[in-house]
Structure formats: structure tokens, C-alpha cells
């Protein structure tokens, strides 16, 4: 049991730290400014090209095949340098890796991993949120193609994506979980219209909604077999819940460091309550950093992704919202001079208990799958 770096890990950490002194793009947090999204692709590519992204993914798809614990080192160093977090696409990669055939994996994964191809994920619909399996987007076979019609929402990065991983119903007769299939759909085509969703904090570039009206996907671009869509979706959402997969330790670490600096800069401005909120944000963020170390270490045994992801999602949510509350306190004492990024950070934090599966759903999963309580 050792939290310390091995010699190899320490050398890696030093290289990354040195690289960051010259290559930190200094982007604002994704939760506070649309400007972040313009810089995301170049940041992803720079991180990848320098050998600091896709560390634990297989070499065949452009990864380095290293133990997952290296990701924890990356998150720590990004946070302490105040650099943007690593791109959160592990869930897409894992979904395609596990369910796609060799051809699909070879064609799509290297571009996702190296950051040259931008992707979004079309799962949720206006009437299919927590009850995802009730989704109504249809894909009908026509020769070598599928024709897709439906409405997707909460589609992250839809405005900049070249491809969308779409979950659609291919079998109207099958039970609702069985009739779904997944497709890689090119976004640049006449049958697709996407528009931004404006979030409560004013940002417009993270989420979009996408209307498919006779959009076309090649049959060869189905990910997995017909009817395998639900299983793929479960793989994707289970990874979407994991802070170790998302790299969010870096997000919170950076935000907490900024809050600490703010308090130190003008101590007379802040109340005991502000200080207390920031102290709790520090404690919560530190908990998540260490919890991710534990989870990523467990993967050295090859532990698969089970319902523990729901535990981690709830922990991550508590951290984001504690950081949000600390940011709100700072906002209240500093508002009025310039753009209120602290308020935006707070407002964005409310989405964390919804996106990637609501906290209510995560609690259901923890109660029934881990604690063994009977399904209600």
C-alpha cells in the first residue's frame, strides 16, 4: 500500500511538470466560459502529441498501455499547474473499444484518441432522460445504410463534432432494451440540424440538441451488433460516471487552488463562512483525489467497471457542488467588477447531479446493486 510514485512514475511526473511550464494554454474553466471550447481540440492534440494523454489505453488505438495510475499523476500535475483538465472522452473510447468490431475500432478510435476527430454522444432525448431505454429515435435499414430520424438533447460538443455516437431504435417489435443499436453518424450532412443549449450559467458551447431528419449512417458504421445498443450505452454511461475516467480531479484541484488564491489576495473581504466553505471544498477535493488513486490502483487487478461507478459519481458530485458553494460565497463578496466567473462555476455545479445519470438514479443503483436492497 503506497501512495508514493515509483521511480518510473516520478520521472514521468517530472517530464510532465516541465512540459507544462511551456505548454499550459491557460484556458478558462469549461464551466465558466465558452472560450474554453475553442481551445479544447488544440489542447487535446498537444497533450496527446507530447505523450501525456491516452496513457492507459491500448497501444493499438494510440494509447500507451500504461497502468491507470498514471492518469492520477496527470490529473495532479494539471491541477497544480492550473492547466485545463485532460479531455473527457474515455467513455466514448471504452464503448467503441468494447463493442465495436476490429474494423470499427481501427477506423474510429485512433482519431478520437489523438484528438484529430471530434465526437459527440447522442443518447438522451427530450422524453428519454433517466429512462434512456424508452428513446424514440429510429434507424431504418435501406440497402447499405440506415436512415435516422429523431431528436437528441444534452449532446455534449455537438457544435464542433464531426461524428456523433447515436443510440437509435432499429427493432420496433423487440422489448425496449433489446431493440436499440449504436451508430457512428457523420454530423456534416443535410439530414442533421444542431443547435446550442444555453445553460443556466450562460454557456452555450458544451451542450447542444440535434435533430435527425432522414440523416444517413452507413451500415458498416454500426458499433456492435444490431440490438447491442443498450449494452454499449451501459458501458458508456458506467465510464461517464467515473472521475478517474473523466479526469475531473484536475478540474476541482485547479478550482480549489484559485479559490485559495482569491482568499489570500484580499482576506479582509471574506467572512468566516466563506473561509469555511473553501476549507470544505479543499477537503472534498482532496478526498476525491485519494479516492481516484484507490480506484485506479484497484484496476491493477484488472477489476472491471461495476456499480461502484455510481458511488464515485455521487462522491464527484458532492465535490463539484462543495466547490460550487465556495465559489458562490466568493462571488457574493466580489461581484460587480468584472465577469462573474465564480457565479458561473456555482451555477454549472448544479448540473453535475443530473448529467451522466442523476443522483437519484445513482442512489437506486447503489442501494440495489451494492447494498443488496430489493428493487422498489
Amino acid at each position: 500500500m503506497d501512495f508514493a510514485d515509483s521511480p518510473e512514475e516520478a520521472a514521468f511526473r517530472r517530464r510532465l511538470r516541465t512540459w507544462l511550464t511551456e505548454n499550459n494554454p491557460g484556458l478558462p474553466a469549461s464551466s465558466t466560459s465558452d472560450e474554453y471550447w475553442d481551445g479544447q481540440a488544440p489542447w487535446h492534440q498537444a497533450l496527446y502529441d507530447a505523450g501525456f494523454f491516452a496513457l492507459s489505453w491500448p497501444e493499438e488505438i494510440g494509447g500507451q498501455g500504461l497502468p491507470s495510475v498514471y492518469e492520477a499523476i496527470v490529473d495532479e500535475e494539471l491541477a497544480s499547474a492550473g492547466a485545463p483538465p485532460r479531455p473527457s472522452l474515455g467513455y466514448l473510447v471504452q464503448g467503441i473499444l468494447r463493442h465495436g468490431d476490429d474494423d470499427v475500432r481501427r477506423r474510429f478510435l485512433p482519431g478520437i484518441v489523438n484528438g484529430r476527430d471530434r465526437w459527440c454522444q447522442g443518447f438522451s432525448e427530450p422524453d428519454a432522460g433517466s429512462d434512456l431505454a424508452s428513446l424514440r429515435t429510429r434507424a431504418e435499414r435501406r440497402g447499405d445504410e440506415y436512415v435516422i430520424s429523431g431528436h437528441k438533447v444534452w449532446t455534449s460538443y455537438s457544435d464542433s463534432a464531426a461524428w456523433c455516437l447515436v443510440l437509435a431504435r432499429t427493432d420496433q417489435e423487440a422489448p425496449k432494451h433489446r431493440g436499440l443499436s449504436a451508430f457512428a453518424v457523420p454530423m456534416d450532412q443535410p439530414g442533421i440540424e444542431q443547435r446550442p443549449l444555453k445553460m443556466i450559467n450562460g454557456i452555450t458551447r458544451e451542450f447542444g440538441e440535434v435533430v435527425f431528419d432522414g440523416a444517413v449512417a452507413r451500415a458498416a458504421d454500426m458499433i456492435g451488433k444490431p440490438g447491442e445498443g443498450w449494452r454499449l450505452a451501459m458501458t458508456v454511461v458506467s465510464h461517464e460516471r467515473e472521475p478517474g475516467e473523466l479526469g475531473y480531479v484536475a478540474r476541482y484541484g485547479k478550482a480549489v487552488n484559485e479559490l485559495v488564491e482569491r482568499l489570500r489576495a484580499e482576506p479582509e473581504r471574506f467572512s468566516t463562512e466563506n473561509v469555511r466553505d473553501v476549507a470544505w471544498a479543499i477537503v472534498e477535493a482532496e478526498m476525491l483525489r485519494l479516492h481516484v488513486c484507490r480506484r485506479l490502483s484497484d484496476r491493477l487487478d484488472g477489476v472491471s467497471h461495476g456499480p461502484e461507478g455510481s458511488v464515485d459519481k455521487l462522491l464527484m458530485t458532492a465535490v463539484e457542488q462543495a466547490v460550487g458553494h465556495a465559489a458562490l460565497g466568493v462571488s457574493e463578496r466580489t461581484a460587480g467588477t468584472k465577469e462573474d466567473t465564480w457565479l458561473k462555476m456555482y451555477l454549472y455545479s448544479r448540473a453535475q447531479s443530473v448529467m451522466g445519470g442523476t443522483s437519484q438514479i445513482q442512489r437506486n443503483l447503489v442501494a440495489t446493486r451494492i447494498l443488496g436492497l430489493p428493487a422498489s
Binding site: 500500500m1 495510475v69 471574506f270 469555511r276 472534498e284 485519494l290 491493477l300 451494492i370 422498489s376
Partner: protein, 345 residues
Amino acid sequence: MDVRLSSEQQALRDAAARLVDDLGPKSVAELDDAARAAKLDTALDATGWRELRTPADGNRPLASAVEAAIVAEELGRGLADTSFLGPTLAAELRRLASAAPASVPETVLLTPDLSGLAVTADARCSGTAIDVRGITSALALAETDGGHDLVAVPVYGTSPGRDLTRPAAAVDGPPAERPPGARSPLTEADIEGWTAFAVSLTCADLVGAMRGAVQLACSYAGIRQQYGTTIGSFQSVQHMLADAHVSVEGSRSIALHAAWAADTLPAGEALDAAAVAKAYCARAARTVCETAVQVHGGIGNTWECLAHVYLRRVLLSTQLLGDVGAHLDRVVARRKIGGVHGGLR
């Protein structure tokens, strides 16, 4: 980095779990079963786990703080009504002072609010000896040139406390004796390091007690019937228990790190790791045990239900070596964000 327990550490955890599962109290009535408690005491003696922090080669402890935390967690989970924390902390003090091992069962003497080690003044030694079951002596600090010496004071009887499993004793007595063999006074760094270790053990106990409380409540939710079905099938009950489980998991990760840090990081950093962990674990533990009481409904508010025994153990472990506020203050002070207040006061 590899924070999995080693196979030896897993074996230690399993052995500690077996010990309390066999001999720990299974009901409130069993707390009064002196024969059972004596068996638990004897069995723990036989394991040698109270001596984990005695010196082995050179002055290194026989076992790491992580191993001590593993035992503490299981004893907390099983509501072990035998002394472990006290003797372990006393042994650690003696090791740091290079003093000879204790010749009688020994604990530590804390200030009456239990927030730190008692320091003797003048010719009297007063404070609260913790975890005194089977204990006849307690170690306190005595100011001396260049630091603190250790002094041992006799402990008699017990005084009622909030925890039903680990009694304490008030001490207010004549001058005490210096343990033989102490080579040099304890420095501030020694005491910081000791505190980091001590706090990390209280965190481990909290994690264990929380786990035990969640298990107790889940078992009850699985058998208690209302409206013709088990209450564990109700979403409102499920969500409370799910939140409790999540708190335990977060606490476990942060407590494990504090234990590792106690032996590995410089004293100041180790104490910071302990402070962060204690604030998190203690806040979580009270809520988790309150949930356990709530899930038991009316029964949970009766003396006969074990839920309050967990809650009471958690309340004591929270108080020992600094509560939530004291540790949040440490977090604030170390990062210099207390501003004009200097802390949270």
C-alpha cells in the same frame, strides 16, 4: 503508486474481522457480558496487535501505521470493547522518546476536552485517560528544556463517558514517574508526527464504525416490514442508505491516505493529511450513524438497539485528538486562508 492492500495486509484485516465477529458484542445486552469481554481482551493480547508500534529493528515500529489502521477499522466495525487505541498511542510515544516498552498496560492521558495530550504542570498530573479497559497507567507530557519528557501516572477506575465500548478515567494525582530509558526529550516535530498518527487511527475507527452502522441498518431494512413489504424496498430508505455507503467509501480512501502519510511524509504534511481526513470522516460518521438510527425508526431510539452504540463510539472518536472544527482550523491555518480571523473563529 499502488494503494491496494498487500496480501499480508488483507490477511491482517481478515484476522481482525474474525476476532471481532467471534468475540465482539452482538447486542447491547452482550456489552454487560464480562466473560465475553474478557475473552476478547485475552484474544487481542494473543495477537500482539497492541504492540504494533513498539520498536523492532533500530527504532522503526514493528508494523506500519497502515497496519495499525487496518486493525483499528475492524475493531471499530465490530464495536470491540477492549483497549487498542490507547495502548497503541502510548507505545508510539515511547518509541518516539526511545523509552523502554511499558511494563504495565498503558494508555495516554489527554486534556479534559480530549483534544490533545495532557501536559503536567507543577506537581499535579490531571486529565482524562482514554480507552482504559484493563489499563493501569497513562502517559502524559512534562515540559522540559528543549521539548517534552514523558511521565507515567497511575489510572484507577473508570468514569462514565459517551462511548459504551471504550471507557475513560479522570486522573488528577500526585507527581508521576518518568519512564526509564528515554534518551532525549520529544520535539515539536515528534509530537506533530505522533498527533498525525493518532488522528489517522481515530479516522480508521470512524470508518469502521460507519461501516458497521451501515451494515446494521441494511440488515434491519431487509427484515423490517411495513405496508406488507420490507422497508428496504422503499426508495426513501434506499437513498439514505446509499448516501451512507457513499460516505463510507469516500472516508475510507481519505483515511487510508492519512495512515500512509503518518509513516511516510514529513510531520507537518502528515498532520495536514490527518486533518483533512479527520474533518471529512468525522462529519460523515455522525451523519451515517444518525441515518442508522433513523432507519431503525422507534427501535433505533431505544437503548437496546446497537445503532446508538455505533453513534456513541463515533462521537468519542470524533472528539479524540480534535473534532471537525479543530481539524478544519488546521486546514485553514496551513493554507493561510484564515484572513483577518486567522482561522475559523
